[in-house]
């Protein structure tokens, strides 16, 4: 820091004509790039802005073509919370997302560890299967799964069919964690083994503390996945409004409030806000997860 501050200012030498055009080009490029940047920023943010502004309009104004509210109706948010069921959906979503996240992390870590650090026959086959499962949509096996949960276990109308499978390793989380564990040098593990640690102790005492950033990334992804899930609750929870989640309930909210776009948009803001807040708090871990799985690590 002091380096930069103490650096002597070079007296501006007489500028050669070539250099001047180069500098002018640089300025023009800066202007072009940043105007494009502002235009793009408008494209990405205006939808949020319009949604938020509409969520604060009065019922009558929400049907008009105005873009900015005449009166700021903060009470709209209160009305959303007072809607029967809304708090239940909120609670269910939190249960689904938190339980799912914890179970996924606990069950995926040992699997990822084995795939990253053990040598055994069939390892690359396992890895291929993990990647294949990661690429499959839930609809592929939904018919037998639904019959299993609904007809054999009689658990439709609850969130159990969504939470229980997360205790058995999630393909994406296993893959992401494995990518992360690969970056931990084997020497640490060998040292622990020499000290007489078994594999489980090595994992818990040595690997876990080092893998914290990877685990954070998995946890965030998993939380978002559960929060955003629509298909799962639609299949298993739809018959019982007491088990609905926010993503599923939001649609019925629209149905019940037909043309009250202001209330629907307020509810939409309330579904989006937690995700965005979590992102701001955990941005670093999140971005690490994206680069870890998206490109060569």
């Amino acid at each position: 820091m002091t380096d930069v501050l103490d650096r002597p200012v070079t007296p501006s030498a007489p500028v050669a004509p070539g250099e001047r055009t180069a500098r002018r080009r640089a300025v023009l490029e800066w202007i072009a790039v940043h105007s494009l940047g502002v235009a793009a920023a408008l494209f990405f943010t205006l939808p949020f802005v319009f949604v938020f502004l509409t969520s604060l309009m009065s019922d009558a104004q929400a049907l008009s073509r105005d873009l900015v509210p005449h009166t700021w109706e903060w009470g709209n948010y209160r009305k959303v919370f007072d809607t029967p069921g809304f708090l239940t959906w909120w609670k269910n979503t939190l249960v689904y997302a938190s339980a799912g996240t914890v179970l996924t992390v606990v069950s995926s870590v040992p699997v990822a560890y084995a795939l990253a650090k053990f040598r055994f026959r069939g390892r690359s086959l396992c890895l291929m299967l993990v990647i294949s499962m990661m690429m499959l949509p839930p609809q592929v096996v939904i018919i037998p799964m639904y019959l299993f949960w609904a007809k054999q276990l009689d658990l439709s109308g609850t969130l159990w069919p969504l939470i229980v499978p997360m205790a058995f390793g999630d393909a994406f989380s296993v893959f992401l964690l494995r990518q992360f564990l690969l970056t931990i040098p084997d020497e640490y593990l060998d040292a622990a083994r020499v000290d007489g640690c078994g594999e489980l102790r090595t994992l818990l005492r040595v690997v876990l503390p080092m893998a914290r950033p990877g685990i954070a990334a998995v946890a965030i992804f998993q939380f978002f996945t559960a929060w955003n899930d629509y298909f799962g609750p639609q299949i298993y929870a739809s018959e019982n409004p007491g088990a609905w989640t926010l993503s599923y309930g939001l649609e019925s909210f629209k149905g019940a409030h037909h043309t009250d776009w202001n209330l629907t948009m307020a509810a939409t803001v309330l579904v989006m806000a937690p995700v965005i807040l979590v992102f701001f708090f955990a941005q670093k871990a999140f971005v690490r997860g994206v680069t870890l799985t998206g490109v060569k690590g």
Partner: protein, 315 residues
């Protein structure tokens, strides 16, 4: 003596590996392998969930291919979205990625703003766009009309519903932006300097230095984009439901793909056949088509991506 301990050691190691893998192995068997085999078996049954299933041979398959009115529209929509939406998203994502690497002032703010829409929960984002693009009262059409431009019907018009979905997909381009940004920053700087010394124009530098370097990432983006597109479920479903004005609840029937089947995708057919028409056999046929297509493109990805260091991100 030594061979015995060696064998015992090996057995211990194998057991240990099995123990560590067991959560996933059980999950794989119970929640994937077994139901997948059942799906194959069900595709040859006539089964509605109430009466006992009966063997029906290939009837479900011919029904889906020849008589199920929603199958081919869904395939055509998937092709449209796979060609148009995926290529636009890749080009736009690359453009935004390039822009972000050039922005020197307020870099962090710009990156965050560009990335945020990608995080918006799909139901909420679709709901927001259904409002923004609502014909008549939506802000987009109001602005277009004020500018003297035609205001399309978007999600209410079969000709405009897919472009509207494309717009929604372009808004959430943040995943590709991050992917391309990382790839662009990895291009060796010397190559640009060498090209500049040779008098290459900006376009030539992009064409002969940037593109060859990021080609694997472009391919990755295209293939994962195609996979995501054919598995696309929530956005077209919600857009169709909101535009058609269906009120959700017991007893309401929603004809998927509103307007005029223009937003149908394959996963919606699994839902329609299985959970609206209670034709589990035919639903399993569509599920298997979805499975085969997904595996085909995943195989391309694993082969061309150099194997296992590449894979898509979620959520």
């Amino acid at each position: 003596m030594t061979t015995l301990t060696l064998a015992a050691k090996r057995r211990r190691a194998a057991l240990r590996t099995l123990a560590f893998l067991s959560p996933w192995l059980i999950g794989f068997a119970v929640f994937f392998a077994y139901p997948l085999l059942s799906t194959v078996y069900f595709s040859f049954l006539h089964y509605d969930g109430f009466r006992p299933p009966t063997w029906s041979g290939t009837k479900n398959w011919t029904y889906v291919a020849e008589n199920y009115p929603l199958f081919w529209p869904a395939v055509r929509n998937t092709l449209w979205l796979g060609l148009v939406t995926v290529s636009l998203r890749v080009v736009f994502g690359l453009g935004v990625g390039l822009l972000v690497t050039k922005i020197k002032t307020g870099t962090g703010v710009f990156r965050t703003l560009f990335y945020l829409p990608y995080l918006a929960p799909p139901v909420a984002a679709t709901m927001a766009f259904a409002f923004l693009l609502n014909p008549g009262t939506g802000p987009v059409d109001s602005l277009l009309e004020r500018a003297g431009l035609p205001a399309p019907g978007w999600f209410s018009d079969p000709a405009w519903s897919k472009p509207a979905l494309t717009l929604l997909a372009l808004w959430g381009v943040g995943d590709l932006m991050v992917l391309f940004m990382a790839a662009l920053l990895d291009v060796p700087q010397e190559q640009y300097e060498a090209a500049e010394l040779d008098g290459a124009s900006a376009w030539q530098r992009f064409r002969y230095v940037t593109l060859p370097n990021i080609a694997p990432i472009v391919l990755f983006a295209v293939v994962t984009g195609v996979i995501q597109t054919m598995q696309c479920y929530t956005q077209p479903l919600i857009a169709g439901k909101v535009a058609s004005g269906v009120i959700q609840g017991a007893g309401t029937r929603f004809e998927p793909g509103y307007p005029d089947r223009s937003t149908l995708t394959l996963p919606q057919l699994v839902y329609n056949l299985g959970f609206q028409r209670f034709d589990y056999g035919a639903a399993c046929v569509v599920a298997l088509v979805l499975f085969a297509l997904s595996m085909l493109f995943t195989a391309v990805l694993m082969r061309r991506g150099g194997g296992l260091d590449l894979a898509g991100d979620r959520p």
